[in-house]
Symmetry: C2
Subunit: 392 residues, 2 copies
Amino acid sequence: MALVRPENPQQARLVRLLRDEGPRSRVELGDLLGLSRTALTTELDRLTARGLVETAGPAASRGGRRSSLLRLSGGVRFASVVVATDRVTVAITDGELNVLAETDEVADVRDGPEPVTGRAVELVDKLRAELGVTELTGVGVALPGPVDGGTSTAPAVLPRWQRFPVRDAFAAELGCPVLVDNDANVLALGERHAGIGRTVEDFLYLKLGTAIGCGLVLGGSLYRGATSSAGDIAHLPLGEEGPPCACGEAGCLEAYCGDVGLVRAALAVARSDRSPALAARLAEAGGLTVADVAAAATAGDAATQLLVRDAARRLGRVLVGLVSFFNPGIVVIGGAPDGFGHLLLSEIRGVVYRRSAPLATGTMPIVLSDLAGRAAVVGAAHLASEHVFSAG
Amino acid sequence: MALVRPENPQQARLVRLLRDEGPRSRVELGDLLGLSRTALTTELDRLTARGLVETAGPAASRGGRRSSLLRLSGGVRFASVVVATDRVTVAITDGELNVLAETDEVADVRDGPEPVTGRAVELVDKLRAELGVTELTGVGVALPGPVDGGTSTAPAVLPRWQRFPVRDAFAAELGCPVLVDNDANVLALGERHAGIGRTVEDFLYLKLGTAIGCGLVLGGSLYRGATSSAGDIAHLPLGEEGPPCACGEAGCLEAYCGDVGLVRAALAVARSDRSPALAARLAEAGGLTVADVAAAATAGDAATQLLVRDAARRLGRVLVGLVSFFNPGIVVIGGAPDGFGHLLLSEIRGVVYRRSAPLATGTMPIVLSDLAGRAAVVGAAHLASEHVFSAG
């Protein structure tokens, strides 16, 4: 199937509605979009002829003539490629962004873009073969750092990726529109489609982990800023001094609260006489990970808990500023290793609720994402669908 | 004239276009709005019959039949009320938000809302009598602090105003729709209509002075946040310690960089032996103002310059966070006393350009507002017009 996009804004609204709400009857679609029966029939006929929409079977009877449900066609298939610093995950979804197949593999972004994107293409092709998907409708790609026009711009996290044309590389191999964005934006889109963000028009997604970033959803849509770098808070300076950061500066938020910063602090604790738990783990494994930090803190190790609380307080103080400024309906926190998010959450909440302007936070929930890894692949598919499901 | 609002979205777009662009021919309006000649004529006839639009005179000939210009009717008149902590300013504008008459008077908000709003109504009535304006189309009110649903919520700055129904009080006296917002939002609207913000879709307005705040314009419209408190950065904590703030906390941005904080720091300098200039001024006047601080710094007094640079650096560090997060196209700074803005600007620029994410700030100008006091009255009129010029 060659690329088919909606021809006009009504058709674009129809396919987005079917993406977000699933199969619907003609009556429901007309009600939801405020379209007359005639206009709706015209647009649905065109979308059906173009292979975007199909009949799904009979709708529940409303007592009168039985009507059939309409849904996005089985020919609509999106691929998601989520590049993390140490792993690549790919998935194929249907038009409603349900994941049909998913796989992931260890991959080190420091090997450079060619082997990582090449392997991602192979994994996509493998899933396509398994599912019998001949043509992809669109591909969404998440990178662990700032993206400008389909190209990575973050040499610190992705040292050999700067100026590599990620979008063009995937488009050449996969033969369909490819959209690239940073992981925080993609996660925010995933929350908007399938998580707690479904019910909130304005929310802030705070991504923890190796790279720290924010995704902002305003009025239901991702806000990218004047030069596509909104939410790029990784290198906010927290003071004049501080630990060195991969970016070359010192005292950045990420240097304190990113995985590398947490592990550095944990190593210092392990090598002192303050934490028998971390010292034992270090002796056993020869190194520490954030999962080790989470395990020691959860097991009650006091020095580790202190370390985690310190990081959470720094995150909380940054959040106070962002929340006062942006006044979101909710803050969603994700991206932290399993078990680590809960450790951070209560301390972050304490700082934010204590020192934010009351009007901004009196009723503002701070929650952990409950989508786990699914947010990224759903968000990447959503990124692609937003482009393909706009009037061509 | 009873309140007349546009009947549908096309009419609303027409009157907003005439507000923002001034008199236009039918051909230009059709082109700008993408409306057919028939649809345009229908809507313009209805707007004319309803007294919102009138013929302004012949348009410049394009070689064919002469067409006439259309403009907002002379019956469209907005009033602006700008309440500062020590002064109230009122103005009357036409539909294009040109100021037809303006006056201001000393007024202390600590006297409470009744005398201040009462006096503002008298001043509006005085201007109406001078101009022969019998009916107002709408009134915009700016308050120096957070506003929630037409009511002030800032007991620190407006101690006796909390829960006073500002909107209802004006509406009862002036008999037309009244819109109330905080001064930073109103100033941002003024910049959007008449200042550098005309050409920028996404910008941040940083308001200095007695109360510190931000107005955010996103996609050309003011962004208010989930609970109308976006931009409310006055009480951001800059550290665990710091000077006391009117809000009851310590170390807030406003306690350092608001007028009260600057004067407190200047008094400390004057009473030490570090600034002969400020000491002499204090001895002469019995107190200090921000204008005295600006004068001493401009005259080269080293201790005063240090004090100003310290405040500017604190503002700069907060801006680094906001700019990284929000990625505006431009930052506009206003609200500081004459001469003071320039003193702050270069230091603020230095901090922001040094420590922001390059992608966000590489091309981002930081400028002083060139509208001076006019931004507030134009912005207040704009606030009212946005409401009245929406489909009723």
